[in-house]
C-alpha cells in the first residue's frame, strides 16, 4: 500500500511529464536525425547526406570519385585521422568497400567508408539468420540488434529519470518538512526503502511509456533507413574532448555519468541532503552527456568539508576514477585493445560503493536524528 502511495506521488509530479516529453523529443531527434557523422561530413562535404543512405558513385572530382560502386555509407572519418589506415584495412578484410586513400593522405577530403549494397544485403540476411556481428570501422555494429540498442538508449533516459525522481521523492520528506511526522509513524522509518522501490517501479513504467511512444515514432514517422542513424547516435557520436582523457562515445559517457549521478542522488538523498544530490548529480549528467569528465566533480567533492564517513565518500569519487584510468593504462601498456569505456568499469566501482553506502544510509534512517 505504501509503495502505491509513493508511486502515486511520483507520477503526480509535473516535472515527470515534462521530462517524458523531453525524452520523446530526444528519441525523435535521435531517430529522425541524419546522424552525427553525417552531419559532420555534411559540414565539410555536402555530398553525403546521411549514414545509411545510398551513395551513388559519380564521375566528378569529389571524395565520392574514389567510391567503387553503389552502397551504404557506414561511417565518415575526419581527414587525417590517425587510425584511418588501420580501420581501412580492417574494413576491407570484412568485405567493406569504399575508401579514399588519397583523401586520407592528403587530408583534403573526409574519408568515406561504406559497404556495397549486395554485400550489405547479404550480411544483413546473415545477421538476421545467425545474429552475428558485422564489424565496420572498428566498432561493433550489431545490425541484428538495432532495436535493443534503441532500448538501451531509452534505458539511459530512464536511469536519469530514476535519478531525478529519487532526488525529488527521496528528499521530499526533508524539503517539505514532513520528516518529523513521517518518521514518528509506525512504518515511517522503513519508508526510504519503499521510496527507492517505488522509484524503480516508476522508472520501469516510464521505460515502457517512452519505449512505446518512441516505437510509435520509429514505425510511423521515421523511415527504416534511419535505424542506422539512431544506432550511430550512441555508438559513433563522440563526446567533446574538453576535460576528458580522450573522446568517448555518448553511450559510454551517459552510462558512466548516470551511474555517478545515481550514486550521488542515493547517498545525498538517503542522508537527507537531497538538494545537494540534485545540485551535484544533474549537472554531472548533463555535462557528462556533453563530454565533460566526471573527474572535476569528484575532485570538487573531495575538497568539500567533511569528516569521517563523509570524507570517505568524497574520497571514493576520485579514487574510483583513478582506478578506472589505471585499468585503461594497463590495457594500453599490454598493447591490448583498450576496454571501450573504461569509465564503465569505474561506474561499476561506483555501483559497489553506492550499494554499500546506501545500505549504511538506509540503516541510518532507522535512527535518524531530526
Amino acid at each position: 500500500m505504501l509503495i502505491l502511495y509513493e508511486l502515486k506521488k511520483q507520477v503526480e509530479k509535473p516535472f515527470v511529464w515534462v521530462y517524458l516529453v523531453v525524452c520523446v523529443l530526444v528519441n525523435f531527434w535521435a531517430l529522425a536525425s541524419e546522424g552525427y557523422s553525417a552531419m559532420k561530413v555534411a559540414q565539410q562535404n555536402e555530398a553525403v547526406s546521411a549514414i545509411g543512405t545510398t551513395l551513388i558513385s559519380e564521375d566528378n572530382a569529389t571524395a565520392e570519385e574514389q567510391y567503387l560502386g553503389e552502397g551504404y555509407v557506414t561511417s565518415v572519418m575526419n581527414r587525417g585521422s590517425g587510425n584511418a589506415m588501420e580501420w581501412l584495412e580492417f574494413d576491407i578484410g570484412q568485405n567493406v568497400l569504399l575508401h579514399s586513400q588519397n583523401n586520407c593522405e592528403t587530408g583534403a577530403k573526409p574519408l568515406i567508408m561504406g559497404i556495397s549494397e549486395p554485400v550489405f544485403t547479404q550480411r544483413l540476411n546473415e545477421l538476421r539468420e545467425n545474429g552475428e556481428n558485422l564489424h565496420i570501422n572498428g566498432g561493433e555494429w550489431l545490425l541484428g540488434k538495432i532495436i535493443p540498442k534503441l532500448l538501451i538508449c531509452i534505458s539511459f533516459e530512464c536511469a536519469i529519470f530514476a535519478m531525478l525522481i529519487s532526488v525529488k521523492i527521496g528528499g521530499q520528506e526533508f524539503t517539505e518538512k514532513t520528516a518529523q511526522v513521517v518518521y514518528s509513524t509506525k512504518k515511517g522509518r522503513s519508508l526510504g526503502v519503499k521510496k527507492l522501490a517505488a522509484s524503480l517501479i516508476a522508472a520501469a513504467l516510464f521505460h515502457v511509456a517512452v519505449t512505446a511512444v518512441s516505437a510509435l515514432l520509429l514505425l510511423v514517422i521515421c523511415p527504416c533507413r534511419n535505424l542506422l542513424s539512431a544506432s550511430a547516435f550512441l555508438e559513433n557520436m563522440e563526446t567533446g574532448n574538453i576535460v576528458t582523457w580522450f573522446p568517448m562515445s555518448v553511450g559510454h559517457y551517459i552510462l558512466a555519468n548516470t551511474a555517478f549521478s545515481l550514486f550521488l542522488t542515493l547517498i545525498f538523498g538517503a542522508f537527507g541532503y537531497a538538494v545537494w544530490g540534485m545540485l551535484c548529480s544533474v549537472p554531472a549528467t548533463v555535462f557528462g552527456a556533453l563530454g565533460i569528465s566526471t573527474a572535476p566533480f569528484a575532485l570538487g567533492f573531495f575538497l568539500l568539508p567533511g569528516e569521517g564517513l563523509w570524507r570517505l565518500i568524497f574520497a571514493s569519487c576520485p579514487v574510483s576514477l583513478i582506478v578506472g584510468r589505471a585499468g585503461f593504462w594497463f590495457c594500453e601498456s599490454r598493447n591490448s585493445i583498450p576496454i571501450p569505456g573504461f569509465e564503465v568499469i569505474s561506474a561499476a566501482a561506483w555501483g559497489v560503493i553506492a550499494f554499500v553506502f546506501v545500505m549504511l544510509a538506509v540503516n541510518r534512517l532507522k535512527r535518524v536524528k531530526l
Binding site: V181, S184, K187, K369
Partner: protein
C-alpha cells in the same frame, strides 16, 4: 505508563536535558518552559526522533527504542512546525498517514471521516491543503496525530500562530481526548495549559523544576503576588524597586502586578500560572527558581 528515567540529552558539549526523570499517566501534562529550554527535545525523545545520550524512556517498563514500531504504533505526534503536501486534500493526506501508521485502508477511510468531523473540517475535506489557513492546517495536524487513536499524544506547541478562537477550539478538543490517554502538550503559552492540564511540568536549566498540579504550582507564589495602583509617572521608580509581573494603564493611573512581601500594605492577589512562569523565567541568570 510512560517513564523518563534519568535521561540526559547532549548536543556536543551542550547539555539540553540533564538527568531528568518523570512518569506520565493518563491525563494532560503541560510542558511549560520558555523557548530553547528543551521542551521540543524532550518531546522528540518521546517521539523517538531523538535518542538520549544516557538514560532511558520506558513504556510499561520496556525501552521505547527496543519496542521500536510497537511503540510508534501507540503514539501520535504533532510537531511544532509540521510539513504537509500542499497539493493533497486533507482526506488524501490523512489516508497517506494512515498507511504509514499501518491502519487498513477501509478502517482508515472511516477514521479519517470521523476525525475530519471532530476537527470541523468535513466541509473542506476535498479542498487542497495549500488553500488552508494556519488554524485549519493545525487542525489537520491534530487529526493526523489522532489517526491511530494513540495512547500517548505528543503535541509540540500546537497553538502557535492560532487566533484566540482557534485556540479555544483546540483546547476543547484536547480536553475531550485526555480521559483515556497521556497527552503531553509542550508550550510557552501559559493559557494553553492552565485550564486543561492535570499537571504542569516546568523545565529549568535542563532539569525538571516542578511536576505539580496547576494549584500546586500557583501555590508556590501564595502570598507573594500583589497589585498596586499608582500614578503612571511613578511606574519607572516602582519597577526599579520591585519585580513587576505585569503593567496595565488606565488614563494616568497604572496597575502593576508584582512580587512582594506584604510589608507595603498592598492587598495580596491569587497567583496565576503566568505569574509563576514570569517569575521563574525572569531575565535574571538562572531565574528565580531558588526563591520558590
Amino acid at each position: 505508563m510512560l517513564s523518563v528515567n534519568n535521561v540526559t540529552m547532549k548536543y556536543g558539549n551542550h547539555t539540553v536535558l540533564d538527568d531528568i526523570s518523570v512518569d506520565f499517566e493518563n491525563g494532560v501534562y503541560g510542558l511549560l518552559a520558555p523557548n530553547g529550554a528543551g521542551k521540543t527535545t524532550l518531546i522528540k525523545l518521546l517521539a523517538t526522533l531523538h535518542f538520549a545520550s544516557s538514560g532511558a524512556v520506558l513504556w510499561n517498563g520496556e525501552s521505547i527504542t527496543a519496542l521500536d514500531e510497537k511503540y510508534r504504533d501507540i503514539i501520535g505526534y504533532l510537531p511544532q512546525q509540521f510539513g504537509y503536501y500542499k497539493s493533497y486534500t486533507p482526506t488524501a493526506y490523512l489516508l497517506y498517514l494512515s498507511a504509514l501508521k499501518g491502519i487498513p485502508h477501509t478502517a482508515a477511510k472511516q477514521r479519517v471521516e470521523e476525525l475530519l468531523e471532530l476537527v470541523a473540517l468535513s466541509d473542506v475535506r476535498n479542498v487542497k491543503l495549500k488553500k488552508f489557513s494556519g488554524g485549519m492546517i493545525q487542525r489537520v495536524g491534530i487529526a493526523a496525530a489522532l489517526l491511530n487513536d494513540p495512547k500517548v499524544l505528543l503535541l509540540d506547541e500546537p497553538t502557535a500562530g492560532l487566533d484566540p478562537k482557534e485556540r479555544v477550539r483546540f483546547r476543547n478538543i484536547i480536553a475531550g481526548l485526555s480521559k483515556d490517554r497521556i497527552v503531553i502538550l509542550s508550550t510557552h503559552i501559559v493559557s494553553d495549559v492552565e485550564s486543561i492540564a492535570n499537571r504542569i511540568i516546568m523545565l529549568q536549566n535542563g532539569k525538571i523544576y516542578c511536576n505539580e498540579t496547576v494549584a500546586e504550582v500557583c501555590g508556590r507564589l501564595a502570598g507573594m503576588v500583589y497589585e498596586a495602583e499608582l500614578p503612571a509617572a511613578e511606574t519607572a521608580d516602582f519597577s526599579h524597586n520591585h519585580f513587576v509581573l505585569s503593567e496595565r494603564f488606565e488614563g494616568d493611573r497604572a496597575f502593576l502586578r508584582f512580587i512582594g512581601d506584604g510589608s507595603e500594605g498592598y492587598a495580596p492577589k491569587n497567583a496565576g500560572l503566568e505569574d509563576v512562569f514570569l517569575y521563574l523565567y525572569c531575565d535574571t541568570e538562572g531565574g528565580n527558581a531558588d526563591t520558590l
